[in-house]
Symmetry: C2
Subunit: 353 residues, 2 copies
DNA sequence: CTGAAAGCGCTTACAG
DNA sequence: CTGAAAGCGCTTACAG
């Protein structure tokens, strides 16, 4: 195999539209026209130009183009207040990217850490958002507090928010948002448990998160419509979701009456529950049934595989991107809110009573 | 809370450097100078200009700037042949982003699927790489075959490759690359097992992947230097790494002599082993010890937590970005290869004999 | 220190 | 159908 590129060649001078025009013996406007395959150019001329383009290896400068178009066709995916791109958001990002690249748009990835108590104008936005003309709009993911929303509005940057992790926002405030249905997810999973004969069903989830509260509401709704008593399992202070699950299991085992099934606030909590129960020799689902929420990659790898609520993450990303594009093309359009459905997935952690 | 933005305002006409010049009563060159805080501008003028900038809410157009600079300060993180951004690559991406944003550079995320058998010039590159002037360079991640490398070289796009997943490349071919030390990782973990008194140690990993082969080599080295016999566990055809681990466990349990410890090709394989052993009632680490590789997020959540080899993923990303920037600033520079160290992490899956 | 001018690589009316 | 010109929003010598 030959060594390619010794690193000693001079950087080739960029060939421009003018070089091509000269080579093809036409004006620069004509080159631009065949490039944009717009107005009529005679086949003969077009062929000559294309030939010159190929011979010179010409590729039009995208930046120059954008400045005229007043649009960069770049959007930003902004992940806020996460110390790590969990697979959940990774999937959303993928959805954004796939939809964007299909329409020849590009996706910039950026990260932001901020406090909900910082004044909007004091939030130190990432460079991407400080520059002007670099991006056309932004998709907000991660945890979103009102001050960030305010800030983004203040700099007049078009945006769409992934709404499930919005915290502390009242319903009056309008903006474009895409989310999935927390409520219906636990409504389905709890109803399923009830259909399988369960009556004593507990809920284990950290209610300080609004999305977990919505899931709690779905659970309560299912319980109520079956005249069953909702029970929230409240462990002492936990360190993260997995630990919350573990502490919840301890709580359950210490209690007098033991539920026959538990609805977990998410898959991580379900994992913690499973871990702790197993360690105490309590078998899932033989002795206690368990359902999660989110359908993380690992859910299917648990033993037995976790019955949980599936969220269509790629679709969320795609819908965010789609909505942002609509906003960009119709700035006057009314704000829209989309809630995508969730679906309960039966696997191995629920026993029929 | 007031409703902000009814969506009916006219899109404000962009204020340009000329507006500011007029408002401040100076020439446009002066505006540019204070913007770039370059050459000397009298304090008095500078103040007047800044005042005008603030009053008009002017933000310079980044695109226009870039076209003059002949540099976009945008790089692309290209993930190849992955149907999903695993946390491993997510971490690398984060490293790239953190280093980039510190130097006011931006990171475009793009995805590519291609076959190793496609001719280089036939590879359908993502839009980002087809455009000219959009990005300054690219960081190659995911599985990299020689044809992709060729293609990137052919379009004269500066690049750095994350080298651990490069497949089918001979050593003659030079390019900038950053990787981590597969060999040393298993060398350390296997030596540790030996120190703990283990003698019958098997290796379970899919050797069709070059990086797993390097890990196998590290394992063999440790065995050889202790005059122990390396044993590769070869299960029948498996579907993915977890399944490979499960099938390996079956193989072990079916065998006549059972190793006291197993070095897994990666954490997923270790998880598969653990799952299958547990199901057969074989306790880890009481009856069999286990070590993984990669230190995935889940490793610490296993029960007991997995002893494994830590890879500094963020650092890999940062180093890739750093190297790409060096390449951009010194196109003539000799190619460099960096191998970052790995570290064995003791947790709960190894028993002392 | 600062203004007027030329120029970056394109697109797009305006004439013909 | 096509060329010459003006212009996008900036930067950067060139004079003064």
């Amino acid at each position: 195999m030959p060594k390619i590129g010794s690193g000693m060649e001079a950087v080739p001078k960029q060939t421009t539209i003018r070089d091509v025009a000269r080579a093809a013996g036409v004006g620069i406007g004509t080159i631009s026209r065949v490039l944009n395959s717009s107005s009529q150019v005679s086949l003969e001329t077009r062929a000559r130009v294309n030939e010159a383009i190929r011979r010179l290896g010409f590729r039009p400068n995208a930046q120059a183009r954008r400045i005229l178009k007043r649009r960069s066709e770049i959007v930003c995916f902004l992940l806020s207040n996460r110390d790590f791109i969990h697979p959940f958001h990774a999937r959303i990002l993928q959805g954004v990217e796939s939809y964007a690249s299909g329409l020849r748009h590009h996706v910039l990835f950026a990260v932001l850490h901020y406090s909900p108590r910082t004044a909007p104008e004091k939030i130190d936005l990432p460079p991407v958002l400080q520059e002007h003309g670099l991006i056309d709009g932004v998709i907000l993911a991660g945890t979103i507090y009102p001050n960030l929303l305010r800030r983004i509005e203040a700099i007049r940057m078009p945006f769409v928010a992934f709404s499930n992790n919005v915290v502390g926002m009242d319903g009056d405030h309008l903006y474009d948002q895409v989310g999935f249905d927390d409520f219906s997810g636990t409504l389905q999973s709890t109803r399923y448990l009830i259909e399988q004969g369960h009556r004593e069903i507990g809920f284990a989830g950290d209610l300080s998160y609004p999305w977990i509260r919505r899931r709690f509401d779905g659970y309560r709704q299912a319980m109520r419509e079956n005249k069953l008593k909702p029970v929230s399992i409240l462990p002492r202070k936990a360190d993260g979701f997995v630990d919350f699950g573990q502490k919840s299991a301890e709580r359950i085992l210490a209690g007098l009456s033991r539920p026959s099934a538990v609805v977990a606030g998410n898959d991580e909590t379900a994992y913690g529950l499973w871990l702790s129960l197993r360690r105490q020799g309590v078998k899932v689902p033989e002795e206690i049934s368990l359902v999660g929420f989110d359908d993380r990659e690992e859910a299917v790898l648990m033993d037995p595989p976790l019955s949980t609520v599936r969220v269509y993450k790629e679709e969320i990303g795609q819908t965010c991107m789609k909505m942002l594009l609509e906003r960009l093309h119709h700035p006057q359009m009314a704000y829209s809110q989309r809630i995508l459905p969730t679906e309960f997935v039966v696997r191995g952690t629920v026993r029929q009573l």
